[in-house]
Amino acid sequence: MAPDTLLTLAIATLLLPIAAFTVVIFFGRRLPRQGDWLATAAITFALLCSLAILFAKISWYNAETLALNFTWIDFQNVPGIGPLKIVLGIAIDNLTAIMLAVVTLISALVHYFSIGYMAGDVRYSRYFAYLGLFSFSMLMIVLADNLFLLYVGWELVGICSYLLIGHWYEKKSASDAAIKAFIVNRVGDLGFFIGIAILFMTFNTFGLKEIFEGTRLGTLPFGSQGWLTATGILLFCGAVGKSAQFPLHVWLPDAMEGPTPVSALIHAATMVAAGVYLVARLFPLFTADALLVIAYIGAITAFIAATIAITQNDIKRVLAYSTISQLGYMIMALGVGAYTAGFFHLVTHAMFKAGLFLGSGSVIHAMHTALHHQHDHQTDAQDIRNMGGLRSKMPVTFWTFLVYTLAIAGVPLTSGFLSKDEILAGTLAFSGLSGHLIIPLTGFFVAGLTAFYMFRLVILTFLGGHRDAARLEHIRESPKVMTVPLVILAFLCFFAFYSFNPIGAASGWVAQAVERPASVVPAAVAAPPAGVFEEALHHVHGTAMLLSLAVAGLGILAAFATYYWRKISADDVARALAPLHRFLLNKWYFDELYQAVAINGTLAFTRAMRWFDNTIIDGVVNGAGWATKGTSFVSGKFDTYVVDGLVNFSAYLSGFLGLVLRKFQTGKVQTYIIFAVLGVMVFYFVFRLV
């Protein structure tokens, strides 16, 4: 297959979903079945294209980067800068090829699942249109060879996330969650935007290749290594927002208000992984300090989210915190330099977390239907305390869910074991090289917590007895269109798809295909090179594997002991650690903190501004008004009394004179004659005297 064919296929992959979106958004309601088949067919073809790309890329162009670009705008010669062109384009390296396959695969499975899950929804066709728009935007992020297109896709997935979280916008909580997700993402995107602007100012290009090359040759933002670190952290801000990292993780749990397949696609597998992808893409640009910040942010996020997940009772919220925690893992992996492990975990996590969400969707669907049959509108269909014993009624959902849970817990023979093991080994190697022991400690602790809360979820949902026997009778397994995607994803959780060695991913094709790129930053501020890291990794690999097996086993044991065998009472533990339990149940009070600081702060600021507006600005305006009013009052009085007075006086004078002179106008000729005679006499005397 020629490179051109590959690029053509990539463009087809990119454009198929947007074409489906355009047709479905405008004509969806008039198409048969509201156009779901069109959107699904488009993404299925995109999936076939991207699988072909992946296969061809890995097989024949493993070490190459295929690129296609065009000049979007040519500014010619810009004064002070020189020739300036904005070149946009796509590039396919192994990272892109794998991401393409992951995105289109999850998207396609979610499309199929949605046909069953969203059946009868009020905005069915719009839902599928947005899924298409999302797929397009996500593929644009993946394919972009420059920060410009990447940012466009970045914002487009943001808006799709907003639209789909708010799909049931009649619900106040859903529209609030959509707005929250959008605004919190803005905070991160601001940093990302500033980072892009700094890079563009420095290199006059958006092209990643050119930026890396320029940095390698010694061009630094504002000529300083400190600014290079700062730029890296600013760019990472975008990932913090999009991948729901501490301190901007608060939007993701609320985003669960969206339809569950959307949570699977956007808020578990792809969009939130875009932040991880961004860090991987820009990896060569990060200095050691920036990577340390990234590693710590990831570790903190993984820890916070895992602790919160233990106490949550909403099935989707547990999964949401689990997602945040796993994203923290990936970010941490990239931060410590375990580039391949971080990206590998992105891929495996996309499979099992999408599966977990779709599985939870299947459960919620069944619960909803059962509650609907019982005319019960009070019971929460998503609360795991209302579930239990679903295993017998939903075997496919249960077994697939169990496979995903084993994968996320890191049980051997699963994909999650491979990737998590690599990450933990990476953190150990990192602490060996730099002495930051807290990171591997957090990593192992979170691995144990993950196994614990995931099995807690499985046990409470599927095992044990159901609270309401009558309701259990109404529970039905979901239709084929929903269970088949679950089975496919469950298969993809087996190690063999990624590496034929069940205890080491290093020899697998993913690890072979995705190699850590060489850093381009000056050697003085660069992280230890890949070779040194690999060496350290090699030494700790066995230790890491044993430790991760131990903590995962402990976590699973603890979950069974607490929730299945009831040896330990969860309530007693909660009572014994009441302050801690309350702290975790309230999600570390992050929402309250942001309410108090960010929201109330903003409100206080706006109140101050309103006061300023009302008092000072309006005061000036009103003062001007009063001054005008006063002046016009004086001028009015002047008009009334002086000008009008003069006019009236002249009129009055004329009137008075008329009144006097009227006396002479008697109308009697005789009088006139007397006057004439007297007048003549007067004249006589006057002129005689003169």
């Binding site: 109308g667 009697k668 000729v669 005789q670 004659i673 007397i674 005679v677």
Partner: protein, 117 residues
Amino acid sequence: MGSLESLWHDITAWLPHVQLAHFLIVSAVLFALGIYGIVTRKNAILVLMGVELVLNSANINFIAFARYGAGNLDGQVAAIFVIILAAAEAAVALAIVLNMYHRFQTVNVDEVSSLKE
């Protein structure tokens, strides 16, 4: 009769001494009487008679100035014109007065004021 004769004698003796001033005095008296008549009378006929007096006082002046001043007949001619004019005027004015009486049943000039108001 003796006294009458002496009076006549006196007059004939005085006549050559009659000067322009005497005529003017007569004319002025006549004029004043005419004006007085015009102004004070309410009867339109009497007013017209006053006007005749004024015209005749003017005639006396014409003739007096012609006799003692210019020495030609211009004054006399003017006087003749005035007499003709006065006749015409009297004719017209009397016709008006007749009409007035016919209409208002009065010749009082003060009561004939339909233009006023």
